[in-house]
Subunit: 344 residues, 2 copies
């Protein structure tokens, strides 16, 4: 089959790879209907050392179950499913606590020995613990919105939950990428009264406003902190969503928080910088978040996607086939595209 392989910074190729086969009785094979490119895929795209053998990549997909192992009971061939961006056994202590990303048998698509999602098919370990059936037809127009349940919408939601967003709260969102915009949508869904998004790209901040942002702050660093203080009686935001992953953005996020407030961070940390507890101590600012246990949130978020009450698919601004994936990476890295949808 064909799948996306990354060989180093700027070097993404669509190649012939071995067809996946069932290896364990708990596996399922899924034919990919829709996948996409994630902001976190851009980190290796920007910095990975050359690797002649290459690494499979992509971790978001919706597809149709093609074959199941003998122990799989939750899904069967023909089922339309969405997969969170990590697999999990669904049974361990962490899965039972809704922290599927800490599953003792868990893993991430594209890690050595696994398939990446940006391909024609995927072998899914622990299919029962991982896959979630979608109650629509494979050609349903909601499919791109349901694909966001794999990662970007739950990740925005995880930032909002980690930041303790509650009805009536003032929320600041650092990052105007697809995760940041999903964070705006999630904060709005959770009842935030005021949502301040930090961004300077009009097409993104316009979507942020449609998703519920009430204020846009184009400034950065000290000026952004000052501007948000002005907007919040000098106090800062109850909840701050950090959706970038650099030390600079994390440092800004911590300074945007109100006394007793929380920063929910979901940007994959690119450096160890940004957190000086001396800036948090006197104000009791908390820091929570991390890799999103998407599997735990899908059940909660899916009804609002199915009903059309929230449309998280608007972060997709380009659609391509598998052969267009390398161009998609380039467009996202150049910030010409927000998030690229792929129909293999």
């Amino acid at each position: 089959m064909r799948a996306t392989v990354i060989h180093g910074a700027g070097d993404v190729r669509v190649e012939q790879v071995p067809d996946p086969v069932l290896r364990e009785p708990t596996d399922a094979l899924v034919r990919v209907s829709l996948t996409c490119i994630c902001g976190s895929d851009l980190w290796p795209y920007k910095s990975m050392d050359h690797d002649a053998a290459g690494r499979r990549i992509g971790h978001e997909f919706v597809g149709i179950v093609e074959e199941t192992g003998s122990e799989v009971t939750g899904v069967q061939p023909g089922d339309l499913v969405v997969s969170p961006f990590t697999w999990s056994d669904g049974e361990c202590e962490f899965c039972r606590e809704s922290l599927h990303t800490s599953c003792v048998h868990g893993g991430l698509w594209g890690q050595p020995g696994s398939d990446g999602a940006q391909g024609e098919a995927v072998r899914v370990p622990f299919a029962d613990g991982t896959l979630v059936k979608l109650p629509v037809e494979p050609d349903d127009k909601l499919l791109p919105a349901l694909l966001t349940l794999a990662d970007v919408f739950p990740t925005g939601h995880h930032a909002a939950v980690s930041a303790g967003v509650r009805p009536g709260h003032t929320v600041a969102v650092v990052g105007d990428g697809a995760v940041g915009l999903s964070g705006v949508l999630a904060a709005s869904r959770l009842g935030a009264e005021r949502i301040i998004v930090m961004g300077r790209h009009t097409e993104r901040t316009d979507l942020a406003r449609e998703y519920g942002a009430t204020d846009v702050v184009p400034e950065r660093g000290d000026e952004a902190v000052e501007r948000v203080r002005e907007l919040t009686k000098g106090q800062g935001a109850h909840s701050v969503l950090e959706c970038v992953g650099t030390g600079e953005s994390l440092s800004t996020a911590l300074r945007l928080a109100r006394g007793g407030g929380n920063v929910g961070y979901v940007g994959v940390p690119q450096d160890g910088e940004g957190v000086d507890v001396r800036t948090m101590f006197m104000r009791n600012v908390g820091l929570r978040g991390g890799v999103c246990p998407a599997r735990a949130y899908i059940d909660e978020l899916m009804p609002d996607v199915l009903s059309g009450r929230f449309d998280p698919s608007r972060v997709f601004d380009h659609t391509t086939g598998l052969s267009g994936v390398p161009d998609g990476y380039r467009a996202m890295a150049d910030r010409k595209s927000l998030k690229v949808l792929v129909r293999p």
Copy 2:
């Protein structure tokens, strides 16, 4: 009157200072019955630059109200009171949210223009928002235990609350000082099933065991992390209380936490080190805490002190008069004393 003044590292003196007088109609004057030396007083004692004029110091006291301003209604002359280590107006948005340390009119004993607690008397700003009446006689044997409500017991409690301690939890406590031991007591009070204290001073770890610790880990750094993992099925602790304040202890605390766990930190941060979100991200470890809003916790903790159910006064292992304060600092700095009680 006489009061303690710090002139620099290692230079604490008891001097004649002006008697306090009412300045604002919301002030009260309190004659100090009991005060003590805090671990956080040791930071300036170890590192403060020489200051010829000196700074007043001490922030924990129980005393008798001597005089009140015209607008004070909550306390009157003759009342026995405890003061949290910060004053607060009791009326602002933050006070109403139980974050009295962020009070818009708040301050810390010993800051310029205020009295320190290690003296004969204190002018208390915003007496109604700050002082809490004690329903015992001034010679009650519980007075030292009630004095701990000023700081050390609520601060241990704040670490436990910030770390999300719940019944059945496994808790690790970094720091065997008075705050760490109070954290052990607070975690026990909140129903922790297992409490692992990091420490190597037998007299301290013995008290920790009496306060509810189930395990003592004398190792530090990597070895401590390994040892705690061994004790917790390889997982780490649900809640970690960081009661030291150095980058090293904070880094250790973050590594002791279980996936999805929380570190509650209350050690005054001495450097900006210790937090690398890359070590927290994959495991969703949260960090909360900061300066303890003691005023918010006094009402909750006092009944358990009055009933004798918990005795937080056992952290006091030496008692002195005001003239013994300089020796008290030395004894605590040399770790010959855990916490010194002062009867001015």
